[in-house]
């Protein structure tokens, strides 16, 4: 269930639109920020709030790759491996994350600290490879600096 604060936040977002359903994607972001993933209860509650059937909410939520459908680690690494990043060594970074943190794509490190999601192009091709950690952007990654960066996320 959504608490009052979240309901108020969603209602505020809702006022930007002419119809309630347009607020669905933003509302899903709100609940994901709060819970780390889109729980079935949250889909039900958001659906009720916006007058969208919950199965429809699920159809929408599962269409987009940035919504999570299971609990995530404390920090989410979204690492791009698309062509530009691949050219600049993104694949070896994936191997490194596995070695260092036991992270595999779509998995969570055993200590629950990181989850890893492989991204399609995140618009940093000129400074590839790049990743998002939570909502922070990091680019020009290499074997060394990626570990330094990740160390600042506990």
């Amino acid at each position: 269930m959504l608490n009052e604060k979240l309901v108020a936040e969603i209602n505020r977002l809702r006022s930007k639109y002419k119809d309630a359903r347009s607020c669905l994607l933003p509302s899903l972001y709100v609940v994901q920020r709060e819970e780390g993933w889109i729980t079935p209860d949250a889909m039900t509650a958001v659906g009720e709030l916006l007058n969208v059937p919950k199965a429809t909410v699920k159809g929408v939520a599962t269409f987009y790759s940035m919504y999570r459908h299971k609990p995530m680690g404390r920090h989410l690494i979204q690492l791009c491996t698309n062509v530009a990043c691949m050219l600049m060594g993104a694949e070896s970074l994936v191997d490194l994350l596995k070695e260092k943190y036991g992270l595999t794509p779509n998995g969570t490190s055993p200590d629950g600290r990181f989850s890893l999601v492989i991204m399609e192009c995140i618009g940093a091709c000129g400074t590839a490879p790049a990743m998002l950690v939570d909502t922070d952007f990091h680019d020009s990654l290499n074997d060394k600096n990626i570990l330094e960066i990740l160390e600042s996320y506990q």
Binding site: S22, L25, S65, V83, C121, G126, F137
Partner: protein
């Protein structure tokens, strides 16, 4: 050429309204509000501006369709989904020069009689969201947005809408469905968005860079604007260059600059002075070109004549060391991941191509695989619901067309491996 789109880019505070105004910002808006909406549309038409989102549709023509539809309200949508791999040209505009976009959109909204606008921003740009929202707040406070823009009795409301990771939502009808809170799948056309778009009302969708050109056109006039760059599609253009060049990045250059000039003059040539092998000139969906085909003017009209397309102007450079079969596989994986699942050939066929490419790269390819790939690609091409599937097919077709030998080598190697 003097920079316009990126003129303020080196100023660390470029995103701030004060800095923008200092550099001459929002003057075009003031000027536009003195004009008649129809005259603005006329100006844009005469400027020859073509949409910067990839398809290169004449912007003025699109606007006049929407303006002619009597239904109200009208909506103005900015396509900031920038999902085409290799493309990162809209990002500096969004993060460093948001007021240029806002100014362009307010002018456009006034011209079209649209009172509501949304910037559909890809979910992968969280920083841009904060910057844009900050800029919108400032613009609102200063009366560039709101119920009474600059006291001229014109209303325009603008907000940011965040996408959530779906390349297909860059396609304008999928974008509209996504904005409506639906699965972002392309719609049947007609009706076109200019007649039945967001919430079934007339809607204009333009790319970030397209809107960013509007104040310039108003400022210098259609005549002057149409003299920049190529005659057939004039104006400044942002090229995002990535891969094996010495100085990758976003470059503002006139339309029609050659690919060679971009790579060798502006980007300083190939990194490590290695040899160039191939270039994808306009984002991953556009046909790859071999090294000897880079003397082509980079604009919408010329590129098809040179065997490719301008697309989003995202230049991806591959040096001699690159295994292009692997690139082809990675690109195909991208299309598979991004297929919206609506139509049969794209949903099923692209995954099939990926699995063939995968076995070739893994060293398990067989003799008929290249023909099979071409056959599958042919069965996809021209039969999908939207251009995404065509793009996927064209990637495979063009990599094989220009670099068949590399595919053959892989298969040859696997035969050797198998017999050893």
């Amino acid at each position: 050429m003097e920079k316009y789109l990126l003129r303020n880019i080196d100023n660390p505070d470029s995103a701030h309204l004060v800095e923008y105004v200092k550099a001459g910002g929002y003057k075009a808006l003031a000027k536009a509000l003195e004009m008649k909406p129809a005259d603005i549309i006329g100006e844009v038409k005469n400027s020859g501006l073509r949409g910067r989102g990839g398809a290169g549709f004449p912007t003025g023509m699109k606007w006049s369709f929407a303006a002619a539809d009597p239904k109200r309200p009208k909506y103005l949508l900015c396509n900031a989904d920038e999902g085409e791999p290799g493309t990162f040209k809209d990002r500096p505009l969004l993060e460093k020069n948001p007021h240029l976009l806002i100014e362009g959109m307010v002018i456009s909204g006034y011209a079209l009689g649209a009172e509501y606008g949304y910037i559909y921003l890809r979910g992968e740009y969280p920083a841009a969201k904060d910057i844009l929202e900050g800029a919108l707040r400032q613009a609102h406070e200063k009366g560039y947005l709101g119920d009474n823009v600059l006291g001229k009795g014109v209303a325009f409301h603008l907000s940011v809408h965040q996408g959530a990771g779906a390349y297909i939502c860059g396609e304008e009808t999928a974008l509209i469905d996504s904005l409506e809170g639906k699965r972002g799948q392309p719609r049947i056309k007609p009706p076109f968005p200019v007649n039945e778009g967001y919430l079934s009302k007339p809607t204009v969708v333009n790319n970030v860079e397209t809107f960013a050109n509007i104040p310039y056109i108003i400022e210098i006039g259609a005549d002057a604007y149409s003299k920049i760059g190529s005659a057939e599609c004039p104006g400044p253009k942002l090229y995002s260059v990535s891969g094996h060049v010495k100085k990758p990045g976003v470059y503002e250059l006139p339309m029609g600059v050659t690919l060679r000039e971009i790579i060798y003059v502006h980007c300083g040539g190939i990194a490590g002075d290695r040899k160039l092998k191939a270039v994808i000139p306009g984002g991953i969906s556009t046909p790859v070109l071999p090294a000897d085909k880079i003397d082509c003017p980079m604009d919408f009209a010329s590129m098809p004549k040179h065997g490719s397309m301008l697309g989003s102007g995202a230049v991806m450079v591959f040096d001699e060391t690159v295994d292009l079969v692997k690139v082809c596989l990675r690109a195909t994986k991208f299309f598979e991941h991004e297929s919206c699942g609506k139509c049969t050939p794209c949903r099923e066929g692209v995954g099939w191509m990926r699995s063939i490419l995968e076995r070739i790269v893994k060293g398990a390819g067989t003799g008929g695989d290249i023909e099979l790939l071409l056959e599958v690609a042919k069965n996809i091409a021209g039969k999908t619901f939207c251009p995404l599937g065509d793009g996927a097919a064209s990637v495979v077709q063009h990599f094989i067309k220009h670099f068949r030998n590399e595919f053959e080598e892989h298969i040859e190697k696997s035969k050797v491996g198998a017999s050893a």
